[in-house]
């Protein structure tokens, strides 16, 4: 691997498009001298944003024109079928052709997953991709997968997710044998549906550091490096957590505004509230990896601001530098072979 990491950045995706993505890429380049960004999308709006940057960092960015844009609410199937020159598709193609190490997009999740799967295909030994995110918890953070790439899973798929998650944490956190938990409705072995029980059997027989079933609260109370579930459960849990966080934020703000001492209170409480906000700041955790494909694909939250999108770019760079995909391939190829034997 060369020392320069090249990222294909879909500039048209997300709620804000180039207005957020281009400044985020420029900021990221300023602090990461060994990264090169290919800014993919319509020339005019990207150039307008780029015009504000004249430093040396901008010499490590170039525009790659793509004429079409996948809308946030567009049907993933139609986008895949008809928008062959979308910024998203072109960014993924750059990875496929070896012109970029990874691609990052804040675009339509379904379209990104569908297109990436279609263009890049899965790694040897992997049947389905998974979306992994890092979620903050009381003792650090946990990698949770799948968050929605593969809603209908068999036990073999979940085993593969566990291997991918474990390898990812080994690589990017430099951890020897990450602990792996299986998301379930109780810690006892008899709990759960048929697929989950079968998965637990496979995990116990594997060489992973399987710690058994974990319940939903384990995601946030912490203590497990990797938590595995199918994409149906994972996505609903993720969305519910986002909803609950939004409720807490809204309520806190409302109460500080409503109370007579609220403003003074907020002033004195500012350091504590700011520090609290920093700790749970979802922007620092932005950037889910669509793992299991022959190329690194990072999904940023659609509403990401500049800081959040920078986190997603950082996630991409780290995944490339630590060779996550190479490690997964190395690990899964013999594992699958020995299973088949």
């Amino acid at each position: 691997m060369s020392t320069t990491v090249t990222l294909a950045v879909d500039c048209m995706g997300g709620d804000h498009g180039p207005r957020v993505v281009v400044p985020a890429a420029m900021r990221f380049l300023e602090s990461h001298p060994e990264v090169f960004c290919i800014l993919v999308g319509q020339r005019e709006p990207i150039e307008r944003e780029l015009a504000r940057y004249s430093g040396v960092a901008s010499q490590r960015a170039r525009i790659h024109v793509a004429s079409e844009v996948v809308a946030m609410d567009e049907s993933p199937t139609l986008a895949l079928k008809h928008k062959k020159d979308s910024s998203m598709r072109v960014a993924i193609n750059l990875v496929k052709e070896g012109n970029a190490h990874a691609c990052v997009s804040a675009g339509n999740t379904g379209a990104l997953m569908g297109t990436a799967h279609f263009v890049l295909h899965t790694l040897p030994g992997i049947d389905r991709p998974a979306l992994v995110a890092v979620l903050p918890n009381m003792r650090g953070h946990t990698y949770v997968l799948d968050l929605g790439a593969s809603p209908d899973c068999k036990a073999e798929n979940l085993l593969q997710f566990a291997v991918m998650g474990s390898t990812l944490v080994s690589a990017v956190e430099n951890r020897e044998r990450p602990s792996v938990g299986l998301l379930n409705i109780g810690s006892e072995e008899i709990k759960g549906n048929a697929v989950v029980k079968q998965t637990a059997d496979l995990l116990r027989a594997s060489d992973l550091n399987f710690v058994g079933n974990v319940e939903g609260d384990a995601i946030f109370t912490g203590g497990t490096d990797v938590i595995v579930s199918d994409g149906f459960v994972g996505n609903i849990v993720l969305k519910a957590s986002e909803g609950l966080s939004r409720m807490v934020r809204t309520y806190l703000t409302e109460e500080f505004r409503r109370s007579p001492l609220g403003w003074i209170g907020a002033l004195f409480a500012w350091p504590a509230l700011a520090s609290f906000k920093r700790r749970v700041d979802h922007r620092r955790y932005n950037g889910a990896i669509l793992i299991g494909l022959r190329g690194v694909v990072i999904k940023s939250h659609g509403s990401a601001d500049r800081l959040a999108f920078e986190s997603a770019l950082g996630r991409a760079e780290t995944a490339v530098r630590t060779d996550v995909l190479g490690r997964i391939t190395a690990r899964l190829t013999p594992a699958t072979a020995s299973q088949a034997a």
Copy 2:
């Protein structure tokens, strides 16, 4: 129905047993003159707590002795098989025999669900029970089911859950046609696994006010009266939300303690923080209904304090007074007949 509602209260369940349950029952009786409580459990610890109450309310309580206690971590199967004289079992028997209108327990969830199902059986037209809780959200609250009684569900089960949830909300919230959402990974009809898609078809064909698929965040952003899922997904979402809430509480407390201005800040911010706490106080929402059985069974959180257990008692009384079970039976019997036709 008589104007007096009789509640069978399992005094031995939960983390605190009679120390919390008996005072909660006494407080509840004081504020609810048309309620009678049968305090089920070991005579001595219950009497010790009762001794502190001499008011008229205590005349509406009597002890019903049960010699055994189901431990919080005991196997539900073993409890069901061997502890025929547990406080939990006896409390459920009182409902079965018509000596109490409802039973309330903070005991072992699995044992309570298993025993209640075994003793009471399901209502006509219902194949499986569901655990329903009321969760607070940004626009009020939502009834979510199933939270863990039936982890493996077919579409027919989920349809029955929707009917039960809708009838429950009609009864206790006095609402004409409650909106019903199906928990899924996207609002489009093509989303989700096979069971969910089939359920959506059944719901669309039903006479319920079905508003379509809802994503996980809808639980907390609000706007839907009833949200339906199988017990596997529902339980994991509930536990994850509990974990996230605990994390937020812990972080907020830590930050106020850590910051130099933290204590002063907390002082000035007190009204806002207290009001915030009240709004999200899970104790007010304590008391999940195990619905679909031939008797009202309420599960209190194991860690419930007095206030929380009072909420659970209130939930039981309301369910009895509004004749939730009678309404479900009336609604489901012809519905099932017409479906079979």
